[in-house]
Amino acid sequence: MLTRTLLLGAASALAMVSFANAETLTIATVNNGDMVRMQKLTDDFTKKNPDIKLEWVTLEENVLRQRVTTDIATKGGQYDIMTIGTYEVPIWAKQGWLLPLDGLAKDYNKDDLLPAIRDAVSVDGKLYASPFYGESAMVMYRKDLAEKAGVTIPEKPTWDQIAEAAKKMTDKSTETYGICLRGKAGWGENMALLTATANSFGARWFDEKWHPQFDQPEWKHALKFYVDLMKEAGPPGASSNGFNENLALFQTGKCGIWIDATVAASFVTNPKESKVADKVGYALFPTGGVENHGNWLWAWNLGVPAGTKKAEAAQKFISWATDKAYTELVASKEGWANVPPGTRTSLYANAEYQKAAPFAKITLDAMTAANTSKPTVKPVPYTGGQFVAIPEFQGIGTAVGQQFSAALAGSMSVDQALQGAQALTTREMTKGGYIK
């Protein structure tokens, strides 16, 4: 048995070598609806390119991030294509970890990409990853509950209007809560929402010299507003709610307003899974006294790591998966509502898509309103909307998120949370060499 095990191990090592000759692309990706759909449709690609085989590695987002970061930082060469976010692309490109995508197919129309998204995945005018689907954030609300409560939510609401509507929609006796917002700690969980919210209140993470700004009145205003609103009109246990928990609450009819990623719209309007599919209204991300809609912008992109030996085939696949023809392929097989959103201008000009996706216009408005190179009203030394595009942000963002989640849970006050955030961010930024 022992010998057999060793032989099996050796055989699998050999198998890897022989695979390498047959041009197999190993693609690392996240498990979400659009990516799963792409995996199902790859027959179309392999028929057109019989010399290329595809091998998928699907992982949960955080596991994937850790996995691909280890691999790319050590030039492990395990993957030929990686699915990465707009947070990673500029950082990795500057490190020289990603290949510039200069071998994409001829009919890949770079100018058709939404400008905000294209900028987010480009460094010095070169494209370093190709967006597969993109999202911003917006308000989703129950039209029926708003009507019952006698409130209207304008297309460009302010936070005060949202708060008023949420309080009126709340009916705790029927477990209906006016507003559901993220509370679970994490740089991509509650801090995405709170950074965007802070932007809309005129707050910023750092001043021009990288000094943290949690001791400024704008942050206090934003955080206090969030905690007070959630206490009055939010669901119980909100400090452990992330995207999924809020999605479950909203689609089972427990939430009046949910402010989150635009991609949620396709879930809550799906009559198979959502009880409120035909009752959802949309509005832009609220403003809090300054002209700023949060600047939330995210995209999942396909990039080619510098360690791969199959760059040409990899770019062939990326061209297939992210060009306009792919959206038409999805539309023909699964309908226009299932097309990956938020990457191409042409999609939003398509009448059939607009008809199939009632949230198309607002998604486009939200995405065009987002400006990640100037995320806040006051000047800042960083880019990124609902995150700060520096490598340290994952760690700092999650630690600050824990403070704010504790403030929401009531185990510390808003002031204590802000003081904690200020202290830990100052410490980390000094350690990182930003604060001289």
Binding site: M1, L2, T5, L6, L8, G9, A10, S12, A13, A15, M16, F19, T26, A28, V30, N31, N32, G33, V36, Q39, E55, W56, V57, T58, L59, E60, E61, N62, V63, Q66, R67, T70, D71, A73, T74, K75, G76, G77, Q78, Y79, E175, G188, E189, G242, F243, N244, L247, A248, Q251, T252, K254, A261, V263, F267, K272, E273
Partner: protein, 276 residues
């Protein structure tokens, strides 16, 4: 009167025992039930316990999306392989420590155990680089090696405790009768230590089966075991609880069944030497 008290306490202890057992088992039961629900029913509030539309849709979906058998084979090879190599290394080591201890035996044992105290992520990058240079990334051979090393301290410790229970006099008697060292280990020591070795083996297979740090970080497509199979169904953006539950049920079923059949051995092995 005395009898009544005994019966009552018996009933109480039985109830407590079953309650604790049920509580521990509940997450697995819930996962199992959820795997037969639709995605909508999986997140319904209040939760639906038994009265929902049972469906096999999730299993069908999981089957069509992933190659379960490949992941399963990898899991078996990795867990069984690492356990057997581990035992082959640990039996002589534990024998030496138990029957001819030196002044430093205890220290060596402690040192071995101390290697388990370091968080795995601390050596991720160095190990990753070694694996990359030796071409071991995403190979079963590499995973067998790393899991063997990780679990070796536990195997040595467990075997050491079992071997300590065996009277040295019996081995001496064998030696008096002219048995060689090899014969002594194979014909005298091993048969007496079989329950201990068996339970060590079973426990180690379970540990290796469940290992989810190295098996996720050192594999990609070829050597990924069932841990990666489960991880591919988890998502922070989208409600896929039912599919995730179906994948989890499929991943734990083999080891659960193995544990069920061998529970007597496991319990006996784990309590071996508990009462002196």
């Amino acid at each position: 009167m005395a009898r009544a008290t005994t019966t009552r306490s018996k009933v109480i202890f039985t109830v407590i025992g079953w309650t604790i057992g049920f509580l521990i088992f509940f997450p697995i039961l819930w996962t199992f039930l959820t795997s037969f629900k639709s995605e909508g029913a999986a997140v319904a509030t209040p939760p639906q316990f038994l009265f929902f539309d049972w469906t096999l849709e999730n299993y069908r979906e999981v089957q069509s999306r992933s190659d379960y058998f490949k992941h399963f084979t990898n899991s078996v090879v990795i867990s069984v392989g690492s356990t057997l190599i581990g035992l082959a290394l640990a039996i002589p080591a534990a024998w030496a420590m138990a029957f001819s201890p030196t002044k430093r035996t205890k220290d060596i044992l402690m040192w071995m155990l101390s290697t388990k105290m370091m968080p795995a992520v601390g050596v991720l990058v160095p190990l990753y680089l070694i694996f990359r240079d030796w071409g071991l990334l995403d190979t079963r051979l590499g995973l067998v090696a790393v899991l063997t090393m990780i679990n070796l301290p536990i195997i040595v410790w467990m075997l050491y405790t079992y071997f300590k229970e065996i009277p040295g006099e019996i081995l001496e008697a064998a030696r008096m009768d002219g048995a060689s060292l090899m014969k002594e280990i194979v014909y005298v020591l091993t048969p007496m230590a079989v329950p201990g070795i068996a339970s060590t083996m079973l426990l180690n297979i379970i540990l290796a089966w469940n290992e989810a740090f190295w098996t996720l970080n050192l594999t990609a497509a070829n050597a990924a075991p069932l841990t990666a199979f489960i991880a591919s169904y988890s998502s922070p953006e989208g409600l896929f609880w039912a599919k995730l539950s179906a994948a989890s049920t499929m991943a734990i079923a083999p080891i659960l069944i193995m544990g069920w059949f061998s529970q007597k051995q496991l319990v006996r092995g784990l309590t071996f030497g508990a009462v002196k």
